[in-house]
């Protein structure tokens, strides 16, 4: 484990950003947000960014291919290009875990080149949590927010940041920063971790249990009458899916610029009435089915296809941002018999 005092953190950022693009969470009027480090920005102390870190690997829109129509001939232009290395600093445990969930979708056969390319070039420097919010429930899914992993795992104390490489990629980066950091003992952060763990036990959602859900529970929940009442208040907007670190659905569309056609993909939301619309229409006829889809996907379908791993990381963003405060916790409690 290495350590750097807080007053030297800027130097660390400067050093990293001199070699590759560096993104750190910064405070803005509209909450914390990952921004490219430009030598002046200060790292945010906020628990989490408003949008998740999935944008780094799976951006909201990205161009897949361009067609150029010249008279009556069509020329196809590939747009995939080799990315440069980049470092994302300060990713919380929940978001780190979300990458694993996305990997299982995008890196499975057939591999998504666009995603893989970014994943290969991205180095994740995580940051352990010390002050979880009342909306946090990552522990429900077995995530230890005090041990966020990533390529390098960080712990921030009152005076220093402790860094520990978790992967080879991380070790390589950390080594390159040796001049700025000093050796430290892993025990230096143990007390803080223990303290944080105690806080986690006291969180209002600490008792939330996902065990009722998971692999093979489709029949049990699919026709539950509660979906109707739960979905009643849903407006069908895409806020939850767009702030969610694990939502991975996308749509592919063409845009005619006048001189060429850009085929791009963009995030889609199962809450939308035209989600997976086919010639006969949307297979999910009303908001009840669309609403069910989102939660069944996170809690049942995904685990069924992925060795029981849940498709939710308990980051609490949807709880904070839903316009009418309907969220996965309420769904789990109602259907899973929690409290």
């Amino acid at each position: 484990m290495r350590k750097i005092s807080l007053d030297k953190l800027d130097q660390l950022f400067a050093e990293i950003s001199s070699k590759s693009a560096l993104y750190i969470p910064v405070d803005t009027a509209a909450g914390a947000k990952f921004e490219k480090y430009d030598g002046t920005k200060k790292m945010s102390d906020a628990l989490n960014t408003v949008r998740s870190a999935k944008d780094f690997f799976f951006p909201q829109t990205e161009n897949l291919v361009d067609f150029k129509v010249e008279g009556k001939t069509i020329e196809i232009k590939e747009t995939v290009k080799e990315d440069e290395d980049f470092v994302v600093f300060g990713v919380r445990a929940c978001d780190v875990k979300s990458f694993e969930i996305l990997d299982r979708v995008f890196l499975a056969d057939p591999v998504d080149n666009f995603y893989k390319n970014r994943r290969d070039h991205g180095i994740i420097v995580s940051m352990a949590c010390t002050r979880p919010a009342e909306t946090c429930f990552c522990q429900t899914f077995g995530i230890d927010a005090t041990a966020p992993a990533g390529d390098i795992e960080c712990h921030k104390t009152t005076d220093a940041v402790y860094l520990e490489a978790k992967t080879d990629k991380g070790a390589k980066l950390l080594k390159s920063l040796n001049a700025l950091t000093e050796d430290a003992d892993a025990s230096a952060v143990e007390a803080q971790k223990a303290q944080t763990k105690e806080v986690f036990k006291k969180l209002p959602l600490a008792g939330l249990d996902a065990s009722a859900f998971g692999d093979g529970k489709t029949n049990e929940f699919f026709n539950a009458p509660e979906w109707k009442t739960l979905s009643e208040s849903c407006l069908g907007c895409g806020t939850c899916t767009f702030v969610c670190p694990t939502c991975q659905c996308y749509d592919i569309k063409d845009f005619n610029t006048g001189h060429e056609v850009k085929r791009f993909r963009c995030w889609d939301s199962c809450m939308y009435s035209d989600f997976t619309r086919m010639a006969h229409g949307n297979p999910r006829l009303t908001q009840v089915e669309r609403f069910r889809q989102r939660f069944m996907h996170k809690l049942v379908y995904y685990p069924t296809n992925n060795e029981g791993i849940f498709g939710c990381v308990g980051c609490g963003r949807c709880m904070a941002k839903c316009p009418i405060n309907m969220n996965i916790v309420k769904v789990m409690k109602k259907l899973g018999g929690n409290k």
């Binding site: 845009f255 610029t257 006048g258 001189h259 850009k262």
Partner: protein, 144 residues
């Protein structure tokens, strides 16, 4: 004469009954105006949806002008009165968003005002040239 002269792209929506005829009259009288002006014929100025105007800017127009019958002379009696309100509000909003107000204009041109049509277009193109390329309402994807 400037080198690398900026040639703006101007879309002019003209109502069929007055302004389009006014443009024809400008032609009949051989009154020159810049070729950058391209006219789209609509039945009435009230047919012009704000979306058409934004669409033109998106696709690369540097200025959009809307021409209709003089208030009170609308072929459909009241169409241009609605145009006037809609565009007053739309243009005020564009201005509020910081978009150069000289890029949009409404002008009333009757079928007898060929000279006014040509003069209006000359003036409008000149104003747009002085503003330069449309940057604030452009769609980068549409840039060549």
């Amino acid at each position: 004469m400037q080198v690398n002269e900026f040639k703006p792209l101007i879309v002019a929506f003209c109502c069929n009954w007055c302004s389009y005829a006014g443009a024809d009259l400008a032609g009949n009288n051989r009154l020159n105006y810049p070729a950058e002006v391209k006219i789209v014929r609509v039945p009435c100025s009230c047919r012009v949806n704000p979306m058409f105007i934004l669409r033109a800017f998106q696709k690369g127009a540097d200025g959009v002008i809307l021409c209709g019958c003089h208030p009170g002379d609308c072929h459909y009696t009241s169409g241009n009165y609605y145009t006037r309100r809609r565009m007053a509000l739309l243009f005020s909003m564009l201005d509020y968003l910081g978009i150069e107000k000289e890029r949009t204009r409404v002008e009333w041109v009757s079928a007898a005002e060929g000279a006014k049509f040509a003069a209006t277009m000359n003036d409008f193109v000149e104003k747009v040239i002085s503003l330069g390329e449309n940057k604030r309402l452009e769609d980068l994807r549409c840039k060549k």
